[in-house]
Symmetry: C2
Subunit: 370 residues, 2 copies
């Protein structure tokens, strides 16, 4: 894996040297992970102009949130800091010593205070903005990354499938969510990609609903959103079921509607499609049925090392899909006081010649009565 990371750093270097920057300091954790592999939570990467890259960290273990092990960054220099110093400040100082006169930092990640301390610690160095250069590079995934996402989706489908075989009536949202997360780990996930959402009855269809002690009852809609994290890569599935043998008419109608919207968005996924056209495909269907306002601000988003990354599929998003970009398609409608439906998939954009969008989350989207 270390060559993959070295190649990514070379691409970044090539791209940013062209823009005149001398040294780059990458501090955003998902960006660091992309460029070096698993790294401590506080790690900062100095990308030198000559390939003299250094990973700086305390591997500060005291906070239990951090991964205390050094990065699996064979073949690159790592520097373990002591005391309370900021690895970003240390990185800028190191760049200075190496003769850099400009250092590009991630202004969308560094706080105003941290940036000020950085500048104060490196008088004479010109700090510039690296911007979203690493995020831009992360947008299109290589086959290694897609393969990690594919495994994450397989694990997720399996965990969900097992849940569907068990008795659901009478169990709480909270316990169902915990069981799903345990099953993700049982099947090899590093952990959940995001907090598992289980919503039943009037809660169903609420995006990002936090599980409560409400129990599943006969006649409920039950909506479940979960995803595995595998080698750092995160996917997402969402499904809605009906509890009991005979769904009500309004449940069947609402389900069919959300399903049509979701299918329209999935079918629009093609290299060259505008981000907002994907959103529009789903939104038009829901608006025509009078449920446009129930839809959230976006229909989906990119996934990878983060569960919500570029692109964003929303009415105002600018840009066009490229091949090998994994995205979610996740429209939902919630009717206050009644409940609702969510259907979320993770897919990879592929050209029609390559078979069209690759569906990673393959659990059925028929309305199952459980």
């Amino acid at each position: 894996m270390s060559e993959v990371h070295a190649a990514r750093r070379s691409r970044l270097r090539a791209r940013c040297s062209a823009a005149g920057s001398t040294a780059l300091v990458v501090s955003r954790p998902a960006n660091v992970r992309y460029l070096v592999g698993a790294a401590p939570a506080d790690a900062v990467l100095l990308v030198g102009r000559l390939g003299d890259d250094v990973l700086l960290s305390h591997w500060e273990a005291a906070d239990a949130i951090a991964d205390p092990r050094p990065a699996d960054a064979e073949g690159m220099r790592t520097e373990v800091l002591h005391g309370e110093s900021d690895p970003a400040t240390a990185a800028v100082a190191m760049a200075m010593k190496a003769g850099a006169d400009a250092v590009a930092v991630e202004e969308h990640h560094l706080t105003v205070s941290r940036h000020r301390a950085l500048a104060a610690g490196a008088p004479g160095v010109r700090l510039t903005d690296l911007g979203r250069a690493v995020e831009d590079q992360r947008l299109v995934k290589d086959e290694d990354e897609i393969s990690s996402l594919r495994i994450a989706a397989e694990i997720t489908d399996r965990a969900l499938g097992e849940l569907l075989e068990s008795i659901l009536v009478g169990r709480t949202e909270r316990h169902l969510a915990l069981e799903l997360e345990r099953r993700l780990v049982d099947h090899g996930a590093d952990g959940p990609a995001f907090p598992t959402s289980v919503a039943t009855g009037t809660h169903s269809g609420v995006a990002g609903h936090r599980p409560t002690d409400r129990r599943v009852e006969e006649g409920d809609f039950l909506s479940v959103c979960l995803g595995a994290r595998f080698r750092g890569y995160r996917c997402r599935i969402g499904r809605t079921f009906v509890i009991g043998s005979s769904p009500a008419d309004w449940q069947i109608e609402l389900y069919d509607l959300v399903f049509s919207a979701q299918r329209a968005a999935r079918e629009s996924l093609e290299p060259g499609t505008e981000y907002r056209a994907v959103d529009r495909a789903a939104r038009t269907v829901l608006e025509a049925a009078g449920h446009g306002s129930a839809l959230g601000p976006a229909t989906g988003h990119g996934v990878g090392l983060e569960i919500g990354e570029d692109p964003r599929l929303s009415p105002a998003a600018m840009g066009r899909l490229g091949p090998c970009v994994p995205v979610t398609v996740e429209p939902g409608v919630h009717l206050p006081g009644r409940g609702g439906v969510r259907i979320d998939d993770t897919l990879v954009v592929r050209s029609p010649a390559d078979g069209g969008p690759e569906l990673l989350t393959i659990t059925t989207k028929e309305l199952l009565a459980l």
Copy 2:
């Protein structure tokens, strides 16, 4: 609860108006939660000079991480935003309309890019730094907060106690960690306060060790760190056990040493004690035994709405403990290739007249052979 939050906002307003600021924009999630109660993840609080406070949010549900329900902020105005606008920008604009000419923002939370967009969106408004005003106010806890921490600790002790009654040999770190987290929720926790750490054999004693598939074996040290989150408040316990009937001599020695260091730090907790004196109390014991370098950069830290908050108990920390400040005391030693010991408690600083430090995590610290 809403009066508690209103009183906190009044204190903040009183304190910051004295410094001349006109309107305050609080964006750091733990600070927002402290001032309004549970709130959506993207919520930003505008604290007006006249008590005209507003909570702004998308309750942006699309990312599943957010809590999509509006704050339990009865009696205060809430504003639900549409589209993709930044609630902080909207808050500054609202302060302008209300006639503010200066707005204090959290420069230690806002990124450089976000701050720049904020300034661009509000020409003519002077942006100043609110600094850590809310964090400073959060340092000393009221009895409501301490009572939430006490319940969190009770839940944590119970979950750990149950684990100790079960068979451990042959089970993986990963499964033990998941079981502990399930038990936390079973006993009423909102969730774990931080990722549960279970470390066995050569992993034991590593701070923040992420559970692996290593199984517990006869003769191992087993160290476990966990904590419950209850009404947002987070505590922490760490214990080390020995597996099998007869600990080795080196295990008994190392355990006694870490225990002495931990006790020395606990006994130093008193209003007026310097933060670094608490660290020194533990560090001196470990250094005398030649294990000073095995200790991390801090011996403990404050807890509350965050698992690691002010104060920090480290050699360079400036300041003195006050009453009603909850802290952890968590020294540990890890011997590479062999294993180690961690003993973590959560305590509340109290004056000797009030009975001295209040131990919240009461699970025994004898070396148990399981």
